[in-house]
C-alpha cells in the first residue's frame, strides 16, 4: 500500500506516473510541453473540469489561480478562502470515501500526500478519475512548483505564471526584510496542541521548522524529526525565547496565562517575559499562496515579541 502511494506521487519534475489513459495523455502532453516550452499554450483541461481538492493549501492555490469555478468538493482542511467552506465537504483527508467523491462526478482529484486511505485513492483512480498527489516539501520552491502544476492541470497556465511572478516578488521583499535583522535570531518553540492534555512540539522536518528558518529564527527543539510530545525538561533545556502557537491551540488553552502554566514553560525566557505568539494554522503551516504574507506576519510577530520583552 505504501509503495503504491509513492508510485503515484508526482515528482518535482512534474512527470506524471499514472497508469490511466488520461495520465498517458498527460504524459505525452507533458513531454510535448517540455519540448515546446513556452511556445504552445497548454489549456488541455480548460473545459468543464470538475475538481475535488484535498488539502487546504491546494484549494488556496486553485482559488488564487481563479479556477475555483471548477471545484466540486474540498476536504475539511480547506478553510481559506471562506468561500471554500460552502463547497461540498468530502470529509477528513485521511478517511476519504471513494463513492462519496465519485458522487461529486469529478474529473480530477488533487490531493496532498495526507490523502487516504490508500485503497480509496486506488479505487478512485480505477474509476477512471485522474488522481494527482502533490508532494508538500515545505519550501518556497515547492510552492512555486505546485502553483505551476495546479495551473497546468486546471488549464490556468497563464495565471499560474503570473502568480509565480507575484509570489517571487513578494517573497523577495519579505526575505530581504527578514535578513535585514537576522543578526539576533530568537529561539522559538512551536507548540501544536488541540487540547492542553495533548501537547506536541515541532522538531526538524516539519512545516513549522521550515517557517522558523525562513523567518530567521531558530527552532528551539533540536535533535528529532516530526511532532513529538512535549517533555518539560527538554523544554527548559531548549530555553526558547518565544512560544509559537496556532490560533486554535491558543483558543483551546483559553489564554496566554494558561499556556504558561504548562510544565517547564515558566522556567524559560519565553515564559519569564511572557512572549507568546499565535497564528492561524493554515496560514502558518499550509505553504499555500499566502506564504509570503505568512512569513511577513510571523516575522513581525516575532520581532515585536522580542522588542516588547
Amino acid at each position: 500500500m505504501q509503495r503504491m502511494i509513492s508510485a503515484h506521487q508526482e515528482g518535482q519534475e512534474g512527470q506524471p506516473a499514472l497508469p490511466s489513459r488520461r495520465a498517458h495523455l498527460q504524459q505525452w502532453l507533458g513531454l510535448g510541453a517540455i519540448a515546446f516550452a513556452g511556445l504552445l499554450p497548454r489549456s488541455v483541461h480548460a473545459a468543464n473540469q470538475r475538481l475535488v481538492c484535498v488539502g487546504g493549501a491546494l484549494t488556496e492555490i486553485v482559488y488564487a489561480l481563479g479556477a475555483s469555478a471548477d471545484l466540486a468538493g474540498v476536504d475539511t482542511t480547506s478553510l481559506y478562502p471562506p468561500a471554500a467552506q460552502a463547497l461540498p465537504s468530502v470529509g477528513y483527508a485521511r478517511t476519504l470515501s471513494a463513492e462519496g467523491i465519485l458522487a461529486l462526478a469529478p474529473s480530477m482529484l488533487l490531493a496532498t500526500e495526507d490523502a487516504g486511505p490508500p485503497t480509496v485513492i486506488r479505487q478512485i483512480e480505477n474509476a477512471g478519475i485522474a488522481v494527482h498527489v502533490l508532494a508538500a516539501n515545505h519550501q518556497f520552491e515547492g510552492l512555486l512548483q505546485r502553483v505551476q502544476k495546479v495551473g497546468e492541470l486546471t488549464g490556468h497556465v497563464r495565471e499560474a505564471t503570473e502568480l509565480q511572478t507575484r509570489l517571487r516578488t513578494e517573497w523577495q521583499l519579505v526575505r530581504t526584510n527578514v535578513e535585514a535583522h537576522s543578526a539576533a535570531s530568537p529561539r522559538v518553540l512551536f507548540i501544536l496542541s488541540h487540547s492542553m492534555s495533548q501537547v506536541m512540539v515541532a522538531g526538524q522536518d516539519t512545516s513549522a521548522d521550515a517557517m522558523l528558518r525562513y523567518a530567521g529564527a531558530r527552532n528551539a527543539m533540536q535533535g528529532f524529526t516530526g511532532f513529538k510530545p512535549l517533555t518539560p525538561e527538554a523544554v527548559i533545556a531548549a530555553q526558547p525565547d518565544i512560544i509559537l502557537l496556532t490560533d486554535l491551540g491558543l483558543k483551546a488553552a483559553g489564554s496566554k496565562a494558561a499556556i504558561l502554566k504548562l510544565p517547564g514553560l515558566a522556567q524559560t525566557p519565553a515564559g519569564r517575559k511572557q512572549r507568546i505568539v499565535s497564528m492561524e494554522t493554515m496560514l502558518l503551516l499550509g505553504f499555500g499562496p499566502r506564504l509570503p504574507l505568512a512569513l511577513k506576519e510571523l516575522d513581525r510577530s516575532l520581532q515585536s515579541a522580542m522588542q516588547a520583552g
Binding site: G91, G100, L102, A103, P117
Partner: protein, 348 residues
C-alpha cells in the same frame, strides 16, 4: 402421555423455515444497501459491466458498493460467529472477543508489521507481502486467545469478572503498543494506521470478498461439527468431559477459529467492535441458547448488523463517510451496559 417438545433435542442446524426467512431478509438488505449511496444507481447499472468498459455508475456499483456490502455481510457474519464461539468457550454472554482484547491484539500485531516490516534485517519475499498483515493479525489474535484461555482455566477459573479484567489489561497493553507504533511511524505509515484503527470497510474488493467467503464457509463447516460439543461445554468443562466431549480439542479448535475470524476481519476492516457481542445475544434472546442454532444464526444477524451500520456510515454524511467502527461502538456500548445490568448478580 408424550409431552410436546417446543424444540426437539434432535433439531439440526437451525429450523429450515427460519433460515429461509433470514436468507430472504439478508438478500433484501443486500439489495437495499447496494442501491443506496452517494451515487444514484439506476437498474441499467445492475447489468454486469461489458468487457472492461467499466466506468461511471456501473463502476461504483460493481467495484465499490457490491464488494463493500458483501464484505459487510461476510465480516459481520465472521464477527458474529466468532462472538458466539468465544461466548460458548468462556461460558458467558459477556465474553466478547472485542472486550477481551482479541481485536486489539490483532490490530496491535498488524500495526507492528506496518511500522516495522520495512526495517526488518531480512527482506520479505514479495509474494508474502499482501498476506503479512492478515497473518500478523491472526497471530496477534491467537496470542490473546491463548492468554485468555490460560487465565480462564488457571488464574481465575470460572469467573467472568477475572476474564473481563484480563481483557481490560490486554486492551490496555494493545492500546499502548498501538500508541507506540503511532509515535514511531512515519507520516506515510500513520496514514495506514489511522485507516483501520477506526474500522472501515472502504478497502473492500472482490479478492477480499472471495477470501472472506472462503474463510466463512470453512468456519461454518468446522462450526457445524463443533456445535453439539459447544452445547455440552455449557455444563462446564468437567461435565462435558464426563459426557464424552474431548474438551481440550474443542477448546484449541475453537480458539483457532476465533483467532482466524477476528484476525481476518481486523486485517481487512480494522477494529469493529460489539458486533460479536450483540449478534449472539440477539439470537439467544429470540431462539434460545442451543448452540446448533446460535452459531449459524449469529452469522446472519452479525452480517445484517454490520451491513446496516456500514450503510449508515457511508450514507449519512455524503460525500464524506463516518468510520463504521464509531457506529458499532455507539450501538454496542449501551447494549453492553444493558447486558451487564442483566447479568450483574452472576458476576464476581
Amino acid at each position: 402421555m408424550r409431552i410436546p417438545f417446543r424444540s426437539t433435542p434432535s433439531a439440526h442446524w437451525g429450523n429450515k423455515w427460519h433460515v429461509t426467512l433470514l436468507l430472504a431478509t439478508t438478500l433484501l438488505a443486500l439489495a437495499i444497501a447496494s442501491s443506496i449511496g452517494a451515487v444514484p444507481i439506476s437498474w441499467r447499472d445492475w447489468l454486469p459491466p461489458l468487457h472492461g468498459e467499466n466506468t461511471g455508475n456501473s463502476y461504483v456499483l460493481w467495484e465499490l458498493r457490491l464488494p463493500r456490502t458483501l464484505l459487510a455481510l461476510l465480516a459481520g457474519g465472521m464477527l458474529g460467529v466468532a462472538g458466539a464461539l468465544a461466548q460458548g468457550l468462556f461460558r458467558n454472554p459477556l465474553a466478547d472477543p472485542g472486550l477481551l482484547g482479541v481485536n486489539s491484539g490483532a490490530a496491535c500485531a498488524a500495526a507492528l508489521t506496518i511500522v516495522f516490516a520495512d526495517s526488518l534485517p531480512w527482506g520479505l519475499p514479495a509474494g508474502l507481502r499482501p498476506w503479512l498483515l492478515p497473518l500478523a493479525a491472526f497471530a496477534g489474535a491467537l496470542l490473546v486467545c491463548f492468554t485468555l484461555d490460560r487465565v480462564a482455566r488457571w488464574i481465575t477459573p470460572g469467573s467472568i469478572a477475572g476474564l473481563l479484567l484480563t481483557g481490560i489489561a490486554l486492551n490496555a497493553i494493545a492500546v499502548a503498543v498501538l500508541g507506540l507504533c503511532t509515535y514511531l511511524s512515519t507520516d506515510e505509515q500513520l496514514r495506514s494506521l489511522s485507516f483501520w484503527t477506526l474500522g472501515s470497510l472502504a478497502g473492500a474488493g472482490w479478492t477480499i470478498v472471495g477470501v472472506a467467503l472462503l474463510m466463512l464457509l470453512m468456519a461454518i463447516w468446522q462450526v457445524r461439527r463443533l456445535a453439539r460439543a459447544m452445547n455440552a461445554l455449557a455444563l462446564g468443562e468437567a461435565a462435558a468431559a464426563h459426557i464424552g466431549i474431548e474438551v481440550a480439542t474443542l477448546r484449541s479448535r475453537t480458539i483457532l477459529i476465533v483467532a482466524l475470524l477476528v484476525g481476518a476481519t481486523v486485517a481487512w476492516c480494522g477494529m469493529i467492535s460489539f458486533i460479536s457481542l450483540i449478534a449472539p445475544h440477539l439470537v439467544r434472546t429470540l431462539h434460545g441458547s442451543d448452540q446448533r442454532r446460535v452459531l449459524p444464526l449469529s452469522i446472519f444477524v452479525g452480517g445484517l448488523l454490520l451491513l446496516i451500520a456500514d450503510t449508515l456510515a457511508r450514507t449519512l454524511a455524503t460525500p464524506a463517510e463516518i468510520p463504521v467502527g464509531i457506529f458499532t461502538a455507539l450501538l454496542g456500548g449501551p447494549f453492553f451496559l444493558m447486558l451487564l445490568n442483566q447479568t450483574r448478580e452472576r458476576i464476581g
